[in-house]
Symmetry: C2
Subunit: 561 residues, 2 copies
C-alpha cells in the first residue's frame, strides 16, 4: 500500500488514521471486526444515550427539518410510519438545477484536497453519525418498520461499518500508487531522461444515491461514502417513505464538511414530492456520473438502460433460495430458517423465499422427515418466534408498505399454506401494521409462481423430485433472475460441493448448514460480501475493489526535472 | 497485499514470481522499469535473433496459418501490407457459435485453477512471446506500416510490458483479500460464532478483444491478459488488415496453455471475412461479458450502446492538443514536436493534432517568435527528419490504409499548408506507401475543421487570441471530443498551473515543456497511464485498478467450523 500523497492532510486524517488502518487490515483478512458496537446497551453507549437519541428524533417530528440547502422552493412531507406514528417532517424541496449547480461548484476544492484529507473528513462524518446513533436508529425504525434493535444494528452500527468498509476500499484504490514519482530512464551514453510525474485522483462528477424504503442507511452508505471519498459531490435522493434517516445523515455530513472548511454542498438531500420522478430527472443529467440504487428490478434496469452517461450500481430483486437435502440437526435447521423468515417480516433483500425440499423428504438426526414434516418444522419455528405478540414484534417489526400487504393477500390464492399470516396488534404502537410470515406449499412445476420475487413475509416450500432437481432449480432460477443469497443443508460433502459448484456458476453467495447464530440473510461487514455482481440481482457487490475503483480516474502530469 | 490463495499453484507461478513481484512494485512506485529490453540490438538479443525472427515471419506468408481451432469453416486472407509486401496468410475462419462454445467449455477448469496458477501461465505466455519477439515485430511492421524499430519496441517489448502491467494489476485486485478466512464473532457468554469462509474469484464469462490496424499488439494485450488472468476465456478478433501479430500471439498462447495442462481454447482467434461484421456478432452475444476495443469513436460508441450485456472498455478518437505559450528552448520545442509529428506518420492515437499558438507569437530564448515562425520552426524540424528518404522512412514507416491518404487529400482544401505532405519512395520496399507529414495553418475560428480527428500525418497550427484563449480551446474541444494527450510549453509557472487545472477538469494527461528525449505521444508502461477514462477519447485507462477490477467477481461460501 503506497500512501505517498503530496498534500499535507487535514488533521482529521491523523485523528482517524488508526481506524482506517484497522479497516484496511480487516478488508484484507476478512475475519470478524467491527468499528461500531452493535449492542445498544447502556453499558456500551452510556445510561442516557438511548433516551437522548429518542428525544432528538422526536424533536424532528411535525417540524421543518433543519437543513440549509440552496435552491429550496418549498417543503415536502411524504413519510408515513409503518408503526402508525405521525412523522410529518417537512424537508426542503430543491430545484434540480440548483442542487446540481451547488454540487458542481463544490467539486474542485474537494478534489484538490486529496485522498487523505477526504478520508479524514469522511471518517469524522462517520464518527458524528455514530455519536448520534440512537437518533439515527429511531429514524430508521419509524420509517422502515424495523424493530428497534434491528434498526440500531442494521440501520446504525452495521451501516456505519459498511460505510467504513467502502472508505477503506476507496482509500486503498486511490493510493495504490504514489501521488508523485521520479522517473529516470537510462539513455545510452547520454544523461538519463528524468521526469517528475504527478498522479491526480480526479472524481467522475456528481454522484447520485437513490435510497430504498427498507434499509435507508445500510444500503445507501457504501455508495455515498465511496463516491464522496473519491472526490465526487453526492446528491442523496431518499425513498419518499424513508427520508428522515438520510436527512439526518446529510445534516451531520454537512455540519462536518463545513467545520473542516469545505463546502457543505458536497452532500445534498433531494427529497421529492409524490409522483415527481426526481430520481429519473437527476440520474439522466449529464453532470451526474455515478448512480447508486437499491430497489426494484424494473427501475434498476431502467437506470442501467437510461443513465448511460453514468456508472450505475444497482441492487435489485432476486430469488433467494435454500436447498434442503439432509441435516444432522433438524431442530437447528428449523430454528435457523424460522428466524430468517421472521426477522423484519422477511422484508430483507437477503431473506430466503424458495425452500427446495425433495417431495420424498429428507434424512435427519431425528430420522426420516417427510416433505410436510420439514415444512411444518420450519413453520413451527416461525410460529414459536411470533406466538407472543410482545416478543414477536421485536423480531418482525412492522410491514413497510401496502405493496407487501397486497402480496400477502395475493399469495393466498397460489397454493396451500403451511403457515398462515395473521395480523398482530403491536403492544406499544396501536397503529402499527404487523403481519406474521406465511409459508405456502408449491410444487416444482409451479415455476410461474416462485420464479418471481414476493418481497415480504412470504416464502415457498417447494416439492422437488430430488436434491439434484433442487440444484437444477437453483441453477435455472438464480441464473435467470438472480439472488443475493443461497443456502444448502446437507450431511453429504458431495451435495455441498455440488451446491458450491452451482453457486459459482450462477454467481451467488452460499451459506452451508446454518443451524446456529449465523443467518443466511445477514452479512458481516469487512468479511461477507453483499451481492456478487455476478447474477441479475445486483450488478455490483458491497463492497469490493470494483465497487470503488471506477468512481475516480487518474490524470497525470509530467515534466522534466 | 494478501496472497493467501488456497490452491497449490502451477510451477509456472514460481518460475515467474520474481517478475510478477517486480511488476507489482513498479505499478506502485511508477518509476522507470521495463521487463523486456526495447533495443533490438544483437548485444541484447543475440547475433541470430533478428534473422531467425524474420525467417519465422516469412515462413507464414502465402500459407495456411498453423492454428488448430474448433469450428473452422474455411480460411480467410484479408491483409494487405502498407509496405507492399505480399502477405496472403490464410487464417482459420471460425463459426461464432463454435468459438463461443469452445471458450465457454474451457472456463470452469481455468476458473478453478485460481489466480496464482493463471498468473504463472500468463507470464509464461509473455515469456514465449518474448522469445519470439523478432517474429512478432516483423508481423507488426508489415501489417501496421510501422518502421522496424518501432514495431519491435511498441509492437514487441512495450506491448509485453503493458501486458505484464495488466497482469500485475489483475493479480493485485484478485488477491486483495485472502482466499479463505476464519471468522469468529464473540457471542456473549456462549461460544463464539465460528465460520470458515472461502472467497472464489469467478470470471465474468467470455471476453472479446477487438484489435486495431495500427497497434495490433500494444492496444490488445492489456485487455487480453487482464481478462485471461482473471479467468475469462478470450476470443481475439483482429483487424482484418492486421491479423498476423495477433495470430502469432494466439498461437503461442495456445501452445503454452496446452503445455500447462489447460484447454487451448481459452484463447481463440476470430478473423473475419470482408464485410462480415464479426465483431458486432460476437460483442452482442449473451455469453460475451467483456469487450475491449480500440478504434473509431463511431464504432466504440456503438459497442457501448449495444453490447449492454458486457463491460465494454473502449479507446476511441480524440483531439490531442498542444498549448504553446513560451519556451526557454525554442530549438528543443521544435525538435521535440517535429519528432512527435513524424513518428509513424502521426498514426498514433497519441500524436498531437492541434497546436495552439497565439497569433501575436511567443517569447523564447531566441527572442520573440511570430506565429508563422513558430509554425515554420516545427515544420522545419519535420522537414529535417524526413529530408533523407532512407532515414525518414525509419521514422515514418508507411501509411496504414487508404483512409489516411484520403484525409491527406481532403486537408489540402481546408487551409494553407505550413508544410506540405509529399510521397516518398521507400528505398527497400518499392510498393510501400509513404507520405511525409503536413501541417496546415488555421484560425481559432475554424472549429469545424480542427474539432474532429484527422487521423494520420496531419496537424494544425492554430492561431489563437492568447494563451488564455488557447487554454479555453483546450477545455472546450477536449471536454467535448476527448483526447489521449495534451502538452503545454511555457516558462510561466502560472500558465503551467492553469494548463494543469484545465487538464484535470477535462481529464487529460498533460506533458509540460518536452524538449528532450521524451515525447508526448509516448507513454511508458508501469509509469504513465495511457488514456484516463475521464474524457470521451476512452472510457478506461491502460492500465489501472478500474481496468481489471470488474473483470471478475468474488463469490463466497461459508460454513460453520
Amino acid at each position: 500500500m503506497m500512501t505517498g500523497m503530496t498534500e499535507t492532510p487535514h488533521p482529521l486524517y491523523a485523528k482517524h488514521a488508526d481506524t482506517l488502518g484497522r479497516a484496511l487490515t480487516a478488508i484484507a483478512e476478512r475475519g470478524y471486526w467491527s468499528a461500531y458496537p452493535e449492542s445498544p446497551s447502556p453499558r456500551v453507549y452510556g445510561e442516557n444515550a438511548a433516551a437522548e437519541g429518542e428525544v432528538a428524533f422526536r424533536a424532528y417530528l411535525g417540524r421543518d427539518f433543519p437543513l440549509d440547502q440552496p435552491g429550496a422552493r418549498d417543503r415536502v412531507a411524504t413519510e408515513s410510519s409503518p408503526f402508525g406514528v405521525d412523522l410529518d417532517v417537512r424537508y426542503p424541496h430543491g430545484d434540480p438545477d440548483a442542487l446540481i449547480a451547488a454540487a458542481t461548484a463544490a467539486l474542485p476544492a474537494w478534489r484538490d484536497a486529496g485522498p487523505a484529507t477526504r478520508l479524514g473528513v469522511c471518517l469524522e462524518i462517520l464518527a458524528r453519525l455514530h455519536a448520534n446513533i440512537f437518533e439515527l436508529a429511531n429514524a430508521v425504525q419509524f420509517t422502515s418498520g424495523q424493530a428497534f434493535v434491528m434498526a440500531f444494528q442494521a440501520g446504525g452500527a452495521h451501516a456505519l461499518d459498511r460505510a467504513l468498509e467502502a472508505l477503506a476500499y476507496a482509500y486503498a484504490e486511490m493510493t495504490w500508487h504514489r501521488g508523485t514519482a521520479d522517473w529516470e530512464k537510462p539513455a545510452g551514453k547520454g544523461d538519463p531522461l528524468r521526469m517528475t510525474k504527478t498522479f491526480h485522483v480526479v472524481p467522475r462528477g456528481v454522484a447520485l444515491v437513490i435510497g430504498c424504503n427498507t434499509f435507508p442507511t445500510w444500503n445507501s452508505y457504501p455508495g455515498l461514502f465511496a463516491s464522496l471519498a473519491t472526490g465526487n459531490p453526492v446528491i442523496v435522493k431518499p425513498h419518499p417513505r424513508a427520508v428522515l434517516p438520510l436527512a439526518i445523515t446529510v445534516r451531520y455530513a454537512r455540519e462536518v464538511l463545513a467545520e473542516a472548511g469545505f463546502d457543505p454542498n458536497l452532500v445534498l438531500l433531494a427529497p421529492e414530492a409524490p409522483g415527481e420522478g426526481l430520481a429519473s430527472t437527476l440520474a439522466t443529467r449529464p453532470e451526474v456520473r455515478i448512480v447508486d440504487f437499491t430497489g426494484s428490478t424494473e427501475y434498476g434496469d431502467w437506470l442501467e438502460a437510461n443513465a448511460r452517461q453514468a456508472s450505475v450500481y444497482t441492487e435489485k430483486a432476486g430469488l433467494n433460495t435454500v436447498v434442503i437435502d439432509s441435516t444432522d440437526d433438524f431442530a437447528g435447521l428449523c430454528r435457523n430458517l424460522g428466524f430468517t423468515l421472521t426477522l423484519y417480516s422477511g422484508q430483507m433483500c437477503t431473506t430466503s423465499q424458495n425452500l427446495l425440499i425433495p417431495r420424498d423428504g429428507i434424512e435427519t438426526d431425528q430420522g426420516h422427515k417427510s416433505f410436510v414434516e420439514v415444512a411444518a418444522g420450519i413453520a413451527a419455528a416461525v410460529g414459536k418466534l411470533t406466538a407472543d405478540p410482545a416478543r414477536g414484534v421485536e423480531l418482525t417489526g412492522a410491514i413497510v408498505n401496502d405493496g407487501v400487504l397486497e402480496r400477502l393477500e395475493e399469495v393466498t390464492k397460489v397454493g396451500e399454506p403451511v403457515l398462515e399470516s395473521r395480523p398482530v396488534e403491536h403492544p406499544s404502537f396501536p397503529g402499527a401494521v404487523v403481519r406474521t410470515p406465511t409459508i405456502v406449499q408449491l410444487d416444482a412445476a409451479d415455476t410461474g409462481t416462485y420464479s418471481r420475487e414476493w418481497f415480504g413475509p412470504i416464502s415457498f416450500a417447494i416439492a422437488t423430485d430430488s436434491t439434484a432437481h433442487s440444484l437444477e432449480i437453483l441453477r435455472s432460477t438464480v441464473g435467470e433472475k438472480g439472488a443475493l443469497t443461497a443456502a444448502v443443508y446437507s450431511t453429504d460433502e458431495a451435495v455441498l460441493d455440488a451446491a458450491e459448484s452451482v453457486a459459482l456458476e450462477v454467481g451467488v453467495h452460499l451459506s452451508c448448514n446454518l443451524t446456529g447464530g449465523v443467518f443466511v440473510n445477514q452479512s458481516a461487514a469487512f468479511s461477507d460480501f453483499h451481492g456478487s455482481g455476478a447474477n441479475p440481482a445486483a450488478n455490483a457487490a458491497l463492497t469490493d475493489g470494483a465497487y470503488v475503483a471506477n468512481r475516480f480516474r487518474i490524470v497525470q502530469s509530467r515534466r522534466h526535472r
